[in-house]
Symmetry: C2
Subunit: 394 residues, 2 copies
């Protein structure tokens, strides 16, 4: 197969982030087939308006193809299948169809999503299965502020877009096969050509852990406070917030260590970095030594706007399901498996679960029924000796 | 002094709870002088409407006397000075004036308020001072749902009113003097005659600890969730909320034990009681053993309405200062003094402090200034090796 052939990308999950990357992949030269559900008619008829501070305005932008199920797939060879809401069940029918059309060229699966342990299940059931349905899995993390508006008819994007991608499992000891490495390199090039500030990494897993550090700590406290990050950073609130933010991050570090992720992959200094980076946005002078003139200095400057709220809080305020499963779920599961106590994470999750349940039911059109006297809560399997909350399972 | 003399009560803190007890004390036969501030003109002119499911309706009820400062005091002998927001500074001028009028008959100070360590400071600075300004201190805890409405022109009260009062320090080893005991007994009788479901106790301190157990646990989680208690008690939320609620209560138990309050005064079974009492309001069936037919049974029945929210959450939603100082402040101070780690309490407080600060500033008419670059946060004294939050000091 020649290097010059146009690359086919199948994009599942055409929300805000998915649309932005579909757009960038097409700009980079790929032929993009998008799987649309709720906004299919809109996209087919009018396309999507892209308003971006970084990439400019493009009205009525369209993917090359818009489909809603595997049956509609037309191309015979796919190179990548990015998905921003991974689940092997969602992806499998598309891969099966692709395989029936061209079994000699299996695509890479690309999973762009927050949280740790995103790739495992997909890798096991779609790559390690017999016959394999994909050549490999790539994990991705995106730092981006983008919103889907107008019932899926436009996205609004700021100036920030950074993407880190890496092969899964991370090729830390063995190099990947030449084919996989070449496919990965082509993906990086496609994205870079499209304008993404993309960076390939050898250890996407470690980056997942360090990214979630912020989400659960500063993000977790903000969502408990229902306040923007800036409210945590006042001279009068810092005495209360600092210790708590550190405490939450140390729970994550304990989970990582208990799961064999050591200093070489997730340095303890990540805690300081995530902490200081945010502290640098405070307007207060922060005295960090007994010397009266010695103040905390940050190199990063003020990167957050005063009203910046973490996405989990934005979702909560909009009464939309929050990323509890992706951000907190895998951490709690690993903590329970290795008996790490996580009092702060448990409290945050317990406080969000009642609202999450409401939002999930609302999205599924189920009426909330608090008075259901037939429902049973079985205390036995849910409790364990750390007193920790169970893994999120609804 | 004859037993038959009408008792004089000076009431400081004419809010919802203060007004209800002023009303009951007058019904019980006391002559009530109320210290009013914001609603003074209204009370003087029209009185206050009392709407109560338990005591009926009494329009335009008036205390015997309405004053706003110590200078206006007229009676020469006061028996009790109840205060629902204690601070020796607030009470002192009244006691000094009373003393100049009649040094031979010092009143009892009665402090009706949530939280532990309410009485210490008042006892030390107003009873143990030279010359003493009061004969003793009585602590009180009230279980009551009452709201002050219409700019201080009416109170609305449900059917619940329970009051526990006891001498401070608790006379656990030595009996109090006959005079103090007699004054205390007269106070109990006055309240009972007025219709209060009052109960005298030997150990008000222990009752303070067990009452605050609920406030910080079920109450603390509800305020983090911004949801009524019922939302914590669904079959689908209980797996997350149960462990957290227990965890919070155990932090309090650890603080109590580290401070010398043992099983004899605060039994560990209080945790179970507070837990089960609330769990009894769940509509779910709760399986508490491996036996499939064995469910949790509560004797208490459903005492909470489905939309019941703890007062701290009601205050938060109304953007009024919350009882952080009285409920969390003394616990955190004691925890820090005895190096007890309180990760859950710290997280709750840190999440509430930004809002509290806003509300306090608003009440004082101070403009919030998040951008004040002259403010200094001094990290050194605030941090200690448990990583715990400092005592609330604004």
């Amino acid at each position: 197969m020649s290097e010059a052939r146009q690359r086919n990308v199948l994009l599942i999950g055409f929300g805000a982030v998915g649309t932005l990357y579909a757009y960038l992949l097409q700009r980079g030269g790929a032929r993009v087939t998008a799987v649309c559900r709720s906004n299919r008619a809109v996209v087919k008829e009018h396309g999507i308006h892209v308003f971006s501070a970084k990439y400019g305005t493009q009205k009525n932008w369209r993917p090359d193809e818009v489909i809603s199920s595997a049956d509609e797939l037309k191309d015979t060879a796919y190179d990548s299948v990015p998905d921003v809401r991974p689940s092997s069940d969602t992806i499998r029918p598309f891969l099966q169809k692709i395989r029936t059309m061209n079994a000699s060229h299996l695509p890479l699966i690309v999973l762009i999503q927050n949280g740790v342990d995103t790739e495992n299940e997909v890798y096991e059931s779609l790559v390690q299965c017999e016959p394999p349905l994909a050549s490999g899995v790539v994990g991705g993390l995106s730092w981006v502020g983008v919103t889907l508006l107008g019932e899926g008819s436009r996205i609004e994007h700021g100036s920030l877009e950074r993407l880190k991608i890496g092969l899964f499992p991370p090729p830390l000891n063995d190099d990947p096969s030449d084919d996989i490495q070449a496919a990965f390199d082509r993906l990086v090039k496609l994205l870079a050509d499209g304008g993404s500030d993309v960076q390939g990494t050898k250890d996407i897993e470690a980056i997942r852990w360090s990214k979630v550090l912020w989400n659960i700590s500063w993000g977790g406290l903000c969502v408990m406070a229902r306040q923007p990050v800036a409210a945590m950073l006042q001279a009068e609130t810092l005495p209360y917030t600092c210790g708590v933010v550190h405490g939450i991050m140390l729970e994550l570090l304990a989970i990582a260590r208990a799961n064999g992720i050591g200093e070489d992959r997730l340095p303890a200094a990540s805690v300081d970095e995530v902490y200081s980076m945010t502290l640098g946005n405070s307007y207060a002078k922060i005295r960090v030594s007994k010397h009266p003139d010695q103040f905390f200095e940050t190199s990063g400057g003020k990167a957050l706007s005063d009203d910046f709220k973490p996405s989990i809080l934005v979702d909560l305020e909009r009464k939309k399901p929050m990323e509890l499963h992706t951000i907190f779920g895998p951490l709690l599961r690993r903590a329970r498996e290795t008996n790490v106590a996580t009092p702060r994470l448990d409290l945050i999750v317990a406080a969000l679960v009642p609202s999450q349940l409401e939002f999930v039911k609302q999205e599924k059109g189920i009426k909330a029924s608090e008075k259901d006297t037939e429902q049973i809560y079985d205390a036995n399997p849910a409790l364990n000796f750390t007193g920790g909350a169970p893994v999120l399972d609804f």
